[in-house]
Amino acid sequence: MSAIVDKFFFYLTRTIALGILLIVAWIFVELFNNSLDSIQAFGFDFITEDKWAPNLEKFGALPAIYGSVISTFLAMLLAIPLAIGVAIFLSELAPAKLKTPFGVSIELLAAIPSVIYGMWGLFYFVPIIRDAFGGVGISMLTAGIVLSIMILPFIAAVTRDAMNTTPDILKESAYALGGTKWDVIKDIVIPYAKAGIIGSFILALGRAIGETMAVTFVMGNVHRISADLTQPATSIPVTLANEFNEADSGLYYSSLFELSLLLLVISFTIISIAKFYFLRRKRIGA
């Protein structure tokens, strides 16, 4: 009897674990199947065409791809230096009494839902951009900044964790040689934790590019490529969030599914690079 239950428990857990792989494969297949109409209609032009005109049944994803890339790039550009500063402060500079409360509050801020960052952006940040640059305030720049604030706690927390893996004995040796704090950080901590730090940046990039709610409020969903960052723009997730419930034709739906597939493939690739190339090495080295 016991042997049967034992076998049953084994197969039960195994089936469910395998089910996870099945679900992931199913997601790819289902999104691909639903994109077929659009893939057949537009082929490769889908990602090079800059016209997105549902009324003409013409769908080009370039503005959304452009918006995703630029807003994420802006966000990383702003968030990374700040996050490194915060991480250095948390791991090396802050007095021991402050480390825990500061560290925990950063982690708690990373847990706040992104929709709230978006709401704050809409009510408090859009007016600032509007006053500073004119226009409506809803723009690529606003989206980039709100996104950077949203991912800041995440990057800071993981960068700090990576920096904290440096063995104390290495740091102490450097201090004993007369190194200043900055010497120790630049010559010991950062080289030691390099793979982990870069990996966490790329992981954050993977997350930022798929982030929907923090940017949907403040980007405007305008399918136009403009070099002027203070103009409204769109990104892949913003287009999906705004248009999925409005799509009224098969081809429209199919194009939105192709956008989803594109987004999934992009973030899967970025996260895999972070995980397999950088974060794995850290695990072996640690």
Binding site: L31, L82, G206, S272
Partner: protein, 280 residues
Amino acid sequence: MTHTQKRIVVNNVVMVLSALSALVGMGFLFWILGVLVLNGIDALNWAIFVNEGAPPGYEESGLKHAMIGQLYIVGVATFFGVPLGILAGTYLSEYGQKAKLAEIIRDISDIMMSAPSIVIGAFVYAIIVAPMGHFSGWAGSVALTIIMLPIILRTTDDMLNLVPSTLREAAFALGAPKYKVIIQIVYRGAKAGILTGVLLGVARVAGETAPLLFTSFNDNFLNTDMMEPMASLTVTMYNYATSPYEDWQKLGWAAAFILSMFILGLNIIGRIFLLKKRGK
């Protein structure tokens, strides 16, 4: 200036810059938190908890429908996601261990944890909403379950791994079959850790908005039929905040406040469990 002096000056400059960036970063984050708390408390009143949605301009509009809808959607997702995640994590830690298959499942789950949630919404739309012909609470729950699964799976895997193998060996030596060892020894040893994982997993999906936009959709009134579209705090918050009506925006802040307190509460409780365990 000697070389040493130069190093000290550079050091001081960098330290000031670091402290400044910490200040700026924390400043922004506490600005958001402050806005959330002030607007939230300002908008809170008893009516919010007892009334349902109303057209803009009506005094008595509330969020009862959204809170109950949220509890349904997240509750059902938890009901399915937690046991499935724990069992799958059990396979990885107790049976799969370092085998290739287990490693692949771990890697894929790690990637899924950071994958865009809106894509999960599109997937669930394709498999549930489109065939059914309408949005439903079930579809929302399924989307959240898919997002929750890898989180629970990975924390369970990690937490079970922390249980010393001598405990397992002692139980095996007494003649216990493997499933009994797992259920009575390993689970018991990892209880606090698993509970933390569950709390953090629930907190994570409770704040998800994007995957609900085109699965559970929204409803302005109380609905407890999972087959029908259902309101959630997150989608309600999105709709109200983007509306032009001031009283709706106010309700949006109230929803944001209630939801954030719930999520922060879960996070804090989860951390306390983990600390207690470490303290022992």
